[in-house]
């Protein structure tokens, strides 16, 4: 009974009935009442002469009473559902802090404007692709009970979003990053150190992981890559590094704002694969190179596969009464019935 009703229930914002056993009996009672009402003789005057009746505006078949009965049945059935107790079952989010703490570090330096990525058949910047892939990854992990933070870097690094389980807000935040938002250069060391700082908020996490995505080489900031790697290793933050972009080729750049806005430009940016590999090796992570844009999503899928701790999430659900849509429907039916049977259709007592 409950199974068959589920699509209908969910259309009205409920997931189950608290007293499903009541529904058939209440529906049966409604049906009996309806049949009894139909057997009642209509309160009308029998005309003996049809032509006169037709001339006076009588119809052979009057829709109004049928409609009134149908509306009454609708109201009764909706009320029957209300009495059976429609509830919405929320799956309560897992108590936070027992999954992984993930810090996603995204390069937003000027070179991320390179137009060598492809997204849904369109030529886009590297950053657009990275935003898309990282957002999907973040949202998925947050939904599974992990906490995710975002660090963005260019000439300097900043925390765009501290650790959170709110995947929707996190990915909304991610879409606001633009190339050059933190300066044009690449402060790899600072970014990594900041990621370690952000990852260290909780003692209860099952593990701490940072994923560093970049297309350049360290050329700014006060923290060296080596010092940052040592910091990560000391704090037991595993760092996976992802190099993005075609190395050793000139690529067309998107026109940026300000000084970068003049005409077509080709630039060459070499990603420092050795440094990234060293970071990964020093912290127990892995280094990935996504030369082509189609490689980036598989890289994050692989990271997702690598980072699978055993999770203890007890099932948590919470029920909420959801009678309102049904009550509103019943009320609408009743008002319409009143209108039809008492106002629009003529009647004599």
């Amino acid at each position: 009974m409950n199974e068959a009703l589920r699509p209908l229930l969910s259309a009205f914002g409920a997931d189950a009935l608290e007293r499903p056993g009541w529904l058939p009996w209440l529906a049966l009672a409604s049906l009996v009442a309806l049949i009894a009402a139909l057997r009642r003789r209509p309160a009308s005057i029998a005309w003996s002469a049809m032509p006169e009746a037709l001339a006076a505006g009588a119809r052979r078949f009057d829709l109004a009473p049928v409609l009134a009965r149908a509306l009454r049945m609708g109201a009764l059935l909706a009320l029957a559902v209300v009495l059976a107790g429609p509830v919405g079952v929320h799956r309560a989010p897992p108590e936070p802090g027992r999954g992984l703490d993930l810090v996603l570090v995204v390069d937003a330096s000027g070179s991320m404007r390179a137009l060598d990525a492809e997204l849904a058949g369109e030529r886009r910047t590297r950053l657009a692709l990275a935003r898309e892939v990282v957002a999907r990854f973040a949202q998925q992990r947050a939904a599974e009970g992990d906490r995710v933070a975002l660090v963005v870097f260019g000439e300097t690094a900043f925390t765009l979003c501290p650790l959170t389980s709110d995947g929707a807000l996190l990915s909304a935040t991610l879409t606001r990053i633009e190339a050059g938002v933190a300066g044009e250069a690449t402060a790899l060391g600072e970014a990594l150190a900041l990621a370690v700082k952000r990852a260290g908020a909780s003692e209860t996490a099952a593990g701490r992981v940072a994923v560093l995505l970049t297309d350049g080489r360290h050329n700014a900031g006060a923290v060296s890559v080596e010092a940052a790697t040592a910091l990560a290793a000391g704090d037991r933050v595993r760092v996976h590094t992802v190099a993005i972009g075609s190395a050793g080729e000139d690529v067309l750049m998107e026109r940026g704002a300000g000084a970068a806005a003049r005409g077509l430009r080709f630039e060459r940016h070499d990603v420092d694969a050795a440094a990234l590999a060293a970071i990964a090796a020093g912290t127990g992570g892995r280094f990935f190179a996504a030369r082509r844009s189609s490689d980036l999503a598989p890289v994050y899928a692989e990271i997702d596969r690598l980072e699978r701790p055993a999770r203890i999430f007890p099932p948590r659900t919470r029920k909420r009464d959801r009678p309102e849509p049904w009550l509103a429907f019943a009320g609408g039916c009743l008002l319409a019935e009143l209108a039809f049977s008492r106002v629009f259709s003529r009647r004599l007592p």
């Binding site: 107790g85 989010p93 009743l334």
Partner: protein, 518 residues
């Protein structure tokens, strides 16, 4: 405000009822006139009872829809930290220096101090409002990061200028997680100046989301002038604008949600201890149980009345129904009456079957039977017993988490059950004793299980030093002092992040889509 679940439907419902009564009344007069013309007399209307029944049914239905509250239900939930959203007023009036250096600086300082006093399990989000409200960060346990972000709050953050408290509260509501049991608190840090004077505050939404609103009011009643590029800010007629602390909107928010308003003293300081205690009012000790009482909405009696009236109105009252119908009615009534005892019986039988299986050592079978027993019965005592036995069966099967859930359920139904409480505590202790699942890497250089070979998704991945695991070059770990120095030296410019967040359009204040967020 707190009397009904949906105060916003009161007026439409009243109009619907009045309209229906008027229409029925007019229809009755018309019918009576028509009959009088036909019969030439003044007959009595025999349908008065039917009309009255219909209108009464409509009234009951509308009452159920409005959701009158009555009675309280106690719910036991696992204690956890609070979910707090700091809503900071960044309107121009917060620049006023009646609590030096400025109201906003005082608010920032208070928020900063508060963040240091929170428990580790508390989660905090940051929202700000001026002409519109913006949720700046999602709920996060990282209080340090939020303290850093506070420094980036200034009155230039949100343009255009304005002071829309309601929008700030709405934006903040977007931070709360659907279905979460954690106590929800909003802390508004403001001078209370609101362009709408607190008229459009989302009080019903706050009540539905079970959010308490605390407010910290900064500024003074005497007020202060505002500076506009060095000169006093003046209005259209050239008079200097004086901004004053206005408690009224904040007090409305607090009163509607069982919150409190804390006023800063003449120097802009707050009673931080009281504030922190009030914030944690609903949070229990971590690991224990907290009793939450919630007011129940009485839909059922009204819906039942409406159903009965609609049913009876359709029945031909003057003449008794024929035998067949009468028999059907009698059967229905009997079956309805019997449904209760029948399920009771089934629950008892299931429970006995479960206990028998448990004794035989078939704990999985016992779990299935006892789950069914708990679900089938409507008698709370019986259900509590079933849940208790279910917990024992789960323990027998070695499933600690499930056992804990079952004991929780048992206690929620029968809070006085000492045996269930003891078993729950034992289970919780056992859960804590059990080592958490080992993180994949205990030490950075520890050898890890090689991932199973699988078709490489990455076509051009090179073998890298990271994968040559034989001799990973372990960097020398930093000393504690060196580490701290490095972390302290890190620049983390808060204004960059905040600018990015604040730039989101007004439509982004509620990023949760698809139904209400709680």
């Amino acid at each position: 405000m707190s009397g009904v679940a949906h105060p916003e439907w009161l007026v439409p419902a009243a109009w619907a009822l009045l309209g229906a009564m008027f229409a029925v009344g007019v229809a009755r007069r018309r019918a009576a006139r028509r009959l009088a013309r036909l019969m030439g007399g003044e007959p009595a209307l025999s349908t008065a009872a039917r009309d009255a029944a219909l209108l009464l049914a409509l009234a009951a239905l509308l009452a159920a829809l409005i959701g009158p509250r009555g009675g309280e239900r106690e719910r036991r939930v696992e204690a956890s930290g609070i979910d707090l959203v700091l809503v900071v007023d960044v309107s121009h009036s917060m620049d006023a220096s009646d609590t030096p250096p400025s109201r906003l600086a005082r608010a920032r300082r208070a928020a900063d101090e508060l963040l240091t006093q929170l428990a580790p399990g508390d989660r905090v989000a940051l929202a700000a409002f001026a002409s519109r409200g913006v949720l700046l960060t999602p709920l996060s346990p990282d209080h340090e990061a939020l303290r850093a972000l506070l420094g980036g709050l200034d009155t230039e953050l949100i343009t255009p200028r304005g002071s829309a408290l309601a929008q700030g509260v709405r934006a903040a509501l977007g931070a709360f997680e659907a279905g979460s049991e954690r106590p929800r608190v909003l802390l508004v840090l403001s001078d209370g100046e609101d362009s709408e004077r607190g008229r459009d505050l989302p009080l019903a939404e706050l009540a539905r989301a079970e959010v308490r609103v605390l407010a910290a009011a900064f500024g003074s009643e005497e007020g202060a002038m505002l500076s506009d590029h060095g000169a006093p800010l003046s209005d259209a007629s050239g008079r200097a604008v004086v901004t004053r602390r206005t408690l009224e909107p904040l007090e409305r928010l607090a009163a509607a949600t069982a919150g409190e308003v804390f006023r800063s003293d003449a120097f802009g300081a707050l009673e931080m201890g009281l504030l922190a205690r009030s914030l944690h009012r609903d949070a229990g000790r971590t690991g224990g149980l907290v009793v939450r009482s919630e007011r129940t909405v009485q839909v059922w009696p009204f819906a039942a009345l409406a159903f009965a009236l609609l049913l009876l109105e359709g029945l031909p009252v003057p003449r008794l129904p024929r035998t067949g119908v009468r028999a059907a009615l009698a059967t229905t009534a009997l079956l309805l009456l019997a449904a209760g005892p029948l399920t009771q019986e089934a629950a008892l039988r299931l429970q006995q079957a479960g206990l028998a299986r448990l004794e035989r050592g078939d704990s999985d079978g016992a779990v299935r039977a006892l789950q069914a027993a708990a679900l089938v019965t409507r008698d709370p005592a019986l259900a509590a017993l079933a849940y208790y036995h279910l917990g024992v069966a789960q323990l027998d099967a070695g499933r600690l988490e499930e056992a804990r859930t079952a004991f929780f359920d048992a206690l929620a139904l029968a809070p006085e059950d000492a045996q269930a409480r003891f078993d729950l505590e034992w289970t919780l202790a056992a859960l804590q004793r059990r080592p958490p699942p080992a993180p994949p890497d205990e030490a950075p250089s520890a050898p890890r299980e090689k991932p199973a070979p699988r078709p490489a998704p990455i076509a051009n991945r090179e073998p890298t030093p990271g994968e040559r695991r034989e001799s990973p070059p372990s960097p020398a770990p930093l000393g504690a002092e060196e580490r701290q120095r490095l972390l302290d030296r890190l620049p983390d410019d808060p204004s960059r992040a905040l600018r990015l967040h604040a730039r989101g359009s007004a439509g982004e204040t509620a990023p949760h889509t698809g139904g209400p967020a709680w």
